[in-house]
């Protein structure tokens, strides 16, 4: 009976500390880590260096404006670009704002002095954030000068504004108006870690039966039916992972108040399917490699690659076509797309159902290996 198998499995889960660690402790550590790491949302006060070769009141004013941005903090003044660059090389600053000599004077005589800013894109996030602030300040500088000059020539403010910037771009980042990285990163990374752990635990719980030569005993509780034995074994794990997943949701959506613009029930459904897909992959892995160590290695490699290939930081559309196709073989990819539709954009369920179906389709994988897995369970003694 399934219940009998499930009872045996629960005993096994409780007895072995590794399950406690992988099913409860590890997800919680990860949750704590990523939530506290990105608690403040966008990084603020990124260190930047100032090279002010003019050192006039307007140039100092410009530097003050830059420093006033939440994202930028001018941590040091350098007498020359070369020294600032060395400091950047040591990693002390992520950007350099350079105001040329005679800046104030050149502005007045309309010689168009050029401001230069340098960012370090070896740290892509820090570099892009600084770039944004520096560019805004440079534009503000032009704006205020033009406004003065225009007024002196008798133009109206509206005319002046239209002449500097005839087309104003009003941006609407859909679903994440704060451009907050932690919203993406947390939602996908945490679920990715969960998926990795699910695959490992699934492989381990089956593989350790082979290694410990207890597979026969396990099959017996399931009337020697591999399907029944698997369901009895994995169902308790599904329930535990589902509860852990819901806890993650509670922290992300209730405590951190990350956006769920659609229905939370659609996300909960996605979570359930996602756990199912990860477990199915786990069964497939140990079915293909019925040695605990190889099965686990497979799970680890798949789990680690899924962070990159799911496309939440670097878009899948920008990858090679073959890699784009491959990405469909990772549950995290489908979960991410559902997340984008349902939580960020609150799109109709219609747009996401292929991905819900894809997650369910992972359930077909164990069927392929069912027979060979049963054979391994019955006859394969563990090879170290």
């Amino acid at each position: 009976m399934i219940l009998q198998t499930a009872r045996r499995e629960i005993e096994r889960l409780c007895k072995n500390k590794i399950y406690w660690f992988c099913m409860i402790v590890a997800p919680l550590i990860s949750l704590l880590f990523f939530i506290s790491l990105m608690y403040n949302g966008l990084p603020t006060k990124l260190p930047a260096g100032l090279v002010d070769l003019d050192n006039s009141s307007p140039s100092r004013n410009l530097a003050r404006q830059l420093d006033a941005f939440a994202g930028t903090k001018i941590t040091a003044h350098y007498p020359s670009f070369e020294e600032a660059r060395k400091s950047m090389q040591r990693g002390e600053i992520y950007g350099i704002f350079l105001i040329p000599g005679h800046f104030a004077q050149d502005v007045v005589v309309e010689k168009q002095p050029k401001i230069s800013f340098y960012t370090n894109n070896s740290y892509l996030i820090a570099g892009s954030l600084l770039f944004r602030d520096m560019k805004t300040v440079a534009n503000l500088a032009s704006g205020s000068v033009v406004l003065q000059m225009g007024r002196a020539r008798g133009y109206t403010n509206a005319q002046i504004i239209a002449s500097i910037q005839p087309i104003l771009i009003d941006t609407h980042p859909i679903g994440n108006p704060w451009l907050n990285y932690s919203v993406y990163l947390n939602n996908v990374i945490l679920l990715g870690i969960l998926s990795l752990l699910i695959m490992c635990v699934t492989v381990y719980s089956i593989g350790s039966e082979i290694k410990g030569k207890t597979a026969g005993e396990w099959l017996k509780t399931g009337n020697n039916s591999i399907l029944q034995s698997l369901i009895g074994k994995l169902l308790p794990q599904t329930i535990i992972f589902f509860i852990v997943g819901l806890m993650m949701f509670a922290v992300l959506y209730l405590f951190m108040e990350f956006p769920v613009n659609g229905s939370i029930w659609n996300m909960i459904l996605a979570l359930l399917f996602f756990i199912f897909a990860s477990q199915s992959l786990g069964v497939f892995m140990i079915g293909c490699f019925p040695t605990l160590r190889l099965g686990l290695s497979f799970a680890c490699i798949w789990g680690m690659i899924s962070f990159s290939i799911s496309g939440f930081s670097y878009p899948v559309d920008a990858m090679y076509p073959a890699v784009q196709l491959m990405s469909n073989l990772f549950p995290l990819r489908h979960y991410f797309l559902i997340y984008v539709d349902q939580a960020l954009n609150s799109r109709a369920l219609f747009y996401s159902w292929p991905h819900y179906m894809a997650l369910l389709a992972f359930g077909l994988l164990p069927i392929i290996v069912l027979r060979s897995l049963k054979w391994s369970l019955q006859y394969k003694s563990y090879q170290p």
Binding site: C22, N121, S122, Y123, I160, A162, H172, I174, G192, P315
Partner: protein, 376 residues
């Protein structure tokens, strides 16, 4: 035996190549992982992000504007939609990642010398989509400024933006160097933990076999370290020298400097792994409990999430891992062309870690030897 240390070295090498699990971590994974990640990220940048246009103006000016956006490398105009509903439908089905709405009065406004407003909607499923559509639209609008208004006031304060390192803002060039360094630490950690657990299983919990050549803790440790170094010197050449040039990641440091830097990194990783390994029981346990830590450890290095934005607790916690200094140091050397002098902090930290973890390893092995003796 004249030089027992070489016997230990040879025995440890045997432990490595006779165990397929260890071979997997020491050789296969460091060989394949960097390639996989490089292939995933190698296109480096998002080009031609598809965008939908809703043009209510239907004017020469608006078409010119859109053509200029289309001409940028960042964005490709996927389609003209007749209204916002249709455009949203296209974005919802993920055929495009942005909508540009041009109002009816677009052309009139510009001709009258009045500022006009276009609306840009960006799908936020990737920050790179948002960046691409915003960049392309801004660029085109600046060009339009020169077109529509011949006697426009010139920008009094022009600017130039220069990315000093990773000049093409590539994603692979930014992230993969960090991953390369991390792979070395994590595979050493997994492999050494596995060897250690096997030895324990075979020797009733002792860290070394009951054999006179292992009677000296220092000798044992050095012999083992020599074996790990033997393998990882080759792996390091692949990971740190061949990979960056193969995939055209920045590789500004010369081999000599890299070697001087990688040596303490490998040593710190090895001793760190030997300490961790001493606390792990079971041959499969290392994978179960160590693999998921790769992500937090990568974030603590400060390569993606800026170091200055990492809370103090996690920053100092990160100092426990050689990878934190290894990644920073390697990126500065190889991506930014720093000299060893300029990364003195990371360099010293790695040697310090080597020393500290070496002493702890030594203590652990001495204690294990004592306990083992008492048992017999």
């Amino acid at each position: 035996m004249k030089f027992p240390i070489f016997t230990i070295w040879r025995e440890e090498l045997k432990n490595i190549y006779r165990d397929i699990g260890v071979v997997l971590f020491f050789i296969v994974v460091p060989f394949i992982y960097p390639v996989l990640y490089s292939i995933i990220y190698n296109p480096e940048v998002m080009r031609e992000t598809p965008m939908v246009v809703v043009d209510m103006s239907h004017s020469t000016l608006s078409r010119d504007f859109v053509r200029r956006i289309d001409a940028t490398p960042d964005v490709q105009v996927y389609k003209y939609a007749s209204n916002m509903e249709e455009a949203k439908e296209i974005v919802n089905s993920k055929k495009a990642y942005g909508i540009l709405f041009i109002p009816q009065e677009f052309s009139q406004d510009i001709h009258r010398g009045k500022q006009t407003t276009v609306s840009l909607y960006a799908d936020m499923s990737g920050l790179l989509f948002y960046k691409a559509v915003l960049l392309a639209t801004t660029e085109a609008s600046l060009e339009m400024r020169k077109i529509v208004n011949v006697n426009a006031i010139e920008l009094p304060v022009p600017y130039e933006a220069i990315s000093l390192y990773n000049t093409q803002n590539g994603f692979a060039s930014f992230l993969v160097p960090g991953i390369l360094v991390l792979v070395v630490q994590q595979t050493l950690l997994l492999g050494i933990s596995m060897i250690c657990a096997t030895t324990r299983e075979r020797n009733r919990g002792a860290l070394v076999p009951h054999n006179p050549i292992y009677s000296d803790a220092l000798r044992t440790i050095l012999g083992k370290v020599m074996a790990y170094l033997t393998v990882y010197i080759f792996m390091s050449i692949w990971v740190f020298i061949v990979m960056p040039s193969l995939f055209h990641f920045p590789h500004l440091a010369n081999e000599g400097t890299l070697a001087l830097f990688i040596l303490p990194y490998l040593l710190a990783c090895i001793f760190f792994s030997m300490v961790v390994a001493a606390f792990i029981r079971g041959r499969e346990t290392p994978m179960m409990i160590l693999v998921f830590t790769s992500l937090p450890i990568l974030f603590m290095s400060g390569i993606s999430w800026p170091q200055t934005a990492i809370p103090a607790f996690w920053k100092y916690f990160g100092y426990l891992f050689p990878s934190t200094f290894g990644i920073q140091g390697f990126v500065k050397l190889n991506s930014m062309g720093a000299s060893l002098n300029e990364i003195a902090f990371e360099y010293k930290a790695l040697w310090l870690q080597t020393g500290i973890y070496f002493i702890i390893t030594l203590l652990i092995y001495k204690i294990s030897l004592l306990l083992h003796k008492n048992k017999i």
